[in-house]
Symmetry: C2
Subunit: 285 residues, 2 copies
Amino acid sequence: MSGLAEKAEAFRQLHHGNGILVLPNAWDVPSARTFEDAGFPAVATSSAGLLVSHGYPDGEGMPRREFVRAIGRIASAIAVPLSADLVAGFGRGPRGVVATVRAVIEAGAVGINLEDKEPVRGSLFPVPAQVRKIRAIREAATSLGVPIVINGRTDALRAESIDATKRFDEAIRRATAYRDAGADCVYPMGLTDGPSIERFVRALQCPVNVMVRAGLPPLSELARLGVKRVSFGPGASYATMGLLRRISEDVLKRGSFASLLDGAISFDELNRLAVPRTAPPSPSD
Amino acid sequence: MSGLAEKAEAFRQLHHGNGILVLPNAWDVPSARTFEDAGFPAVATSSAGLLVSHGYPDGEGMPRREFVRAIGRIASAIAVPLSADLVAGFGRGPRGVVATVRAVIEAGAVGINLEDKEPVRGSLFPVPAQVRKIRAIREAATSLGVPIVINGRTDALRAESIDATKRFDEAIRRATAYRDAGADCVYPMGLTDGPSIERFVRALQCPVNVMVRAGLPPLSELARLGVKRVSFGPGASYATMGLLRRISEDVLKRGSFASLLDGAISFDELNRLAVPRTAPPSPSD
C-alpha cells in the first residue's frame, strides 16, 4: 500500500499548513467527485450523509460490509485523500474497531473519524476505553504501513449526563487524551462560538476540527483563532435535500420546472463523475 | 405479493386521470423519500442518477445484483409506487430481461422502463427482438400476479443509424409495436417540441411519457397536448451536482458557507428520511 502511505502523509500535511483545510463531506461517488473536481485537496464522508443515502438512520445500523463497500466505491473514484467517518468504529472494543479501520484502509481511505459516543444508547464511552481504541488503531495503521490521519471526535459538549458547566472542561480532557493516544486532530462536536474555539485550540495545541453550521465564525476568523480543519459534516446532504424540496414545491405547487433546470449540470458532466480516475487499491499491493 | 398488485394497479390508474402524472426520478433513499414527502403520488428511479451514484457510468456496468439491491432499498423506504428504470433490462434476450424484472418486482417495484438501445454499442435492437422482451415481461408479471406498468422507451429519435427525416416515423412505428406487445406507456426519448409531441400522442392513442428538459412546453400546455406522464429523467441528479458545484465555488473562491447553509434541512429531517415507513415486500408473501 505504498501509494496509500504517501496519500496519508499528504493528507496529514494538509493539517499543518498556514491555512485551514476545508473538508467537504460526500455520501456517494458523484458528490465526492464533484468536490474533487472543484478543487478541494481532500474529501471526507459524512456518516449521516452516507448511511441515510443507503437507507439507514445515522448510527451503525448499516452492515459493516456494506458500509466498507460504500467507502471503497468513493475511494476508488477519487484521486485525492479520502477520510472515512466511522461513527464509533462499527465494533465493540479495540479489536472490532481495528477490523473496521483495516477494512476501510484496504478500501482506500487514508483518514478516519472516530467518536466517543455509544451509537445506540448515546452515552459517552469511558476515556480509557476510547483511548485503548485509538492506540490500537494507530498501531494497526503503523503495522499496515499507512500513517492514516485519526480525527478523534468527542461529544462531551452535548452530553446530557454531564453537568452543562462541566462539559467544556470534559471535552478538553477527552480531546487531550485522544491526542496523546495517537489522534492527529481532535473534533469537539458542537463547538461553534469564537471564544470557546480559541480556548479549545490553545488548550489542545494540535489540529482542531470544527463543523460548518449557522453561527460559525467566517473562515478568516477561524484561521485567526488557530483552527486547522473545517468540515461540512452532513451539511451538503442537508443542502441537497433542501434543493429537492424546492424543486418538488416548484413542480407541484406552481407547475414550474425552473428550479429543476436552473444551474443544473449536463448528462455528460454527470456521467463523467462515475468514470474511474484511479484504480482501486488492492489489499495485496 | 397482493400488496404489490394493488400498488401496480394504482400506479397504472395514475396514467389515466384527467391530469398529467409528474414522476420525479430519485437515485437513493433520501431523494426518493423527499419526493414522496413533498406529495408526488409515485416515484421512479433514473438509471443515470442511480448508476452514477454507485460509481458506474450510465448503462449496464453495475452488477445486476447490486442494481436490484439499490432498487430494493428505495422500494422499502417509500409507500407510494416505485418505477425502476432498467436501461435495456440487464440481460440479453427475453429470458435475461425477465429475470431482472422478476427481481425488481420482488424488490418492491411496480413499474419499469425498458429502452430499445443496446447499452454498449448504442445501436437500436430490431423491433421483433424488443417486442419479444416486452411480451415476455408482461407474461412474467401476470404470472407473478403483479400487473406492473411497462414504459416502453424508444431511442429512435436520436439514432444516428436512421436518416434524420425518418426518425420520427420510426419512433412511432416502434412505440406502436411496444404498445401492442404490452407496454402501458411509451417514451420517445428526445421528444420536446409541442407540435411533435401532439403528433406523437395522436398517433399512439396511449399514455406517452416525455422528459423534462429546457424547451419542454409548460405542464398546462403538455396537458392540452394529451401527454399523460412527465418524468424528471436524471434532472434532479443534474440539479444536485450543480448545487454542489456552487457550494464548492462559494467556499473555495469566496470563503463563504452561504450556499451550503441556505435552504438546507436539519439533521433530524435528514435522518427521518431513512426511517422505514413500510416493510419491504418479501418474495414469499
